[in-house]
Symmetry: C2
Subunit: 369 residues, 2 copies
């Protein structure tokens, strides 16, 4: 039997557990009932995931005594919008969901962001549980309480902080996740080590490509530690006023890369991988991190089949993409740099300082020098 | 010079002051700047109020060093909806509002509910200040942090708890408020006395119809005490899990009356007045409150030119209106009863128990017996 781990996210009266295990989806109902005391579960999923796991989750919830309302939203980040939110509200009202209902999201980060925002705002907030089925959602979307949707002008411009009552991770659901998505999710795991825990980073280096195989005995402790790191950071700064910013390591340039691709053809984790290598190189160039820091990160990400080179868009395009970062405060961006593997801090830089003139991407120069 | 009063709403790190005065609108900018440190103010108002007070408020904000974006939404509760929310998001994005912006609502409860919900969810929450221009908004919408919008299926079905950083009350803005709206706002003032403070209720009885004249020397201490009462209740139960329910005194039937009128031709405060008299009579009939309790409430409300008799809709219509109350938990409604003037509690009753068969409204029986 594979190990079960519980990570507690410590947020006072909003604390909650992340329970990680293998082939545990059939047990989710009891845990939801115990944690929420809800009498109705609104199970929100996307078609692919719903077909594979929806019935098992619904049955488990029903066996635990909850009435179950199953709702499906179209897959893809493009549908994480206000229109879907309004449709979900309508379904909740029509089915008589009241304050004793819990919203349970089953799927990746897109569905938990969307369903979580509905839970945060329906009747001024009802309970929320997430059952993530991607590595990215397990270590990232599930922890931190950020929920929200996109506007046509940009991603995640609307949202709330709404902590789940429970995160239920069944690594068996990863079997159906494409290898490329698994790799992309691992980028956030690498990030956790890089910003917070050097010995965890060492462990990831030892495991390397084996992490892609979704072996629960290897993966559960690794995912648990990644969750724990995020939980530690979030616990100290729930509303993202300071420390929590370090979780944006790799994300400033990563967001720009995603935006320049118009969010097509590149996964979030892939863009973050590129952004982390870039940020680590900048940290070295600024004299903040010892030489070799970026190389270790780059090597590990390559073993995880992730891209590490900045795509060759014009500098001007990068600069304007960096400027629309919604975390901008006046002209400066709080750029996350490494001091060494396991230690990060923020540094206020303008887009032009983040990407100085005369620096072409390695890709454009013809690969590694 | 009229008295200035400050009421502190004590909610830990979300505490904020309600500052009440007369002819103080021109000073709002300095207070906003000091409380929020914001660099941009998004001033949201409705046409009538905007025409009278928008320029003064905007000038004051500008003189305090804030950039000001003025936005207008159509008046009326029917436009407190997701469509207006989406339009406000768009305006904020297009004008580059970031996390250093504060949303300032100028108007009644409708605009503060709507603008407050936008503030609660734009970029996962930015700062919010309300400048209420109706008595109802001064004592009710301004305190408690409830923000939200209507769905076509019902009122306030979507929302959040988002505390303002400051509530700025200038009673001079009441001069332009129709007498009927003033009366309706005073219903919530009477409620505050009835549920929490017998000596305040006495004071209201002594003032009676004079409260309708909007004399600041009389009104400011009265509004301050009403705010303070709500603040005391909210401080002890921010998320409405128990005690705060008593603020719904008069609202269970009141909401039903509003719904049966399809929200037309009756003001919220008028429906609450009817609901309070009804609830006080039920409290007496249940043997919970001493005889004469309802009569005192009824007499005071009549002096304030408020209706007190339940309109003559069929009992079945009332029962189904009571059932869609979104605060329902299973079949029971937490109906607020009085134990005496100044002391309220909740009592779980089914709609049929709230309105037993064979009880026709007095109006239908031909007035007072």
């Amino acid at each position: 039997m594979s190990p079960r781990r519980t990570v507690r996210v410590d947020l006072g009266d909003r604390s909650y557990p992340i329970v990680l295990g293998h082939e545990t989806l059939a047990d989710v109902g009891g845990a939801v009932a115990e944690r929420t005391g809800a009498s109705q579960a609104v199970l929100v999923s996307v078609p692919g995931v719903n077909r594979l796991y929806g019935a098992t989750a619904a049955r488990s919830l029903r066996e635990a005594g909850l009435r179950v309302l199953r709702l499906e939203v179209p897959d893809g980040d493009a549908t994480k919008n206000l229109r879907q939110v309004a449709k979900l509200y309508d379904a909740l009202v029509e089915k008589g969901a009241d304050r004793s209902a819990v919203v349970v999201s089953l799927g990746g980060g897109m569905v938990s962001d969307l369903a979580g925002f509905v839970a945060a705002t329906y009747l001024r907030g009802i309970q929320f549980v997430t059952v993530p089925t991607t590595i990215l959602a397990m270590v990232d979307a599930g922890v931190g309480g950020k929920v929200g949707v996109n506007l046509k002008q940009g991603k995640n411009l609307v949202g709330a902080f709404h902590q789940p009552r429970l995160v239920w991770v069944d690594t068996a659901t990863l079997a159906s996740l494409p290898r490329r998505d698994r790799a992309a999710g691992l980028a956030e795991v690498v990030k956790a080590g890089a910003i917070w825990d050097a010995s965890f980073f060492d462990r990831l280096e030892r495991a390397g490509e084996k992490l892609l195989e979704a072996d629960p005995d290897l993966l559960i402790p690794v995912l648990a530690r990644a969750c724990q790191i995020k939980a530690e950071v979030v616990s100290r700064d729930e509303r993202e006023s300071g420390l929590r910013m370090i979780l944006n390591f790799g994300h400033t340039l990563g967001h720009a890369v995603e935006a320049l691709h118009r969010y097509r053809g590149i996964l979030h984790g892939e863009a973050v991988a590129i952004g982390m290598v870039f940020a680590a190189r900048r940290s070295e160039a600024l004299g903040l991190a010892p030489e070799g820091t970026a190389e270790r990160i780059e090597d590990l990400l390559r073993r995880l089949e992730l891209p590490t080179e900045r795509p060759d868009f014009a500098r001007g395009a990068y600069l304007s993409a960096l400027k629309v970062d919604k975390k901008k405060k006046d002209a400066h961006v709080r750029f996350v740099v490494l001091r060494e593997i396991g230690r990060a801090e923020t540094c206020p830089l303008t887009p032009a300082e983040i990407l100085p003139a005369g620096r072409r991407s390695r890709a454009a120069r013809g690969g590694r020098s």
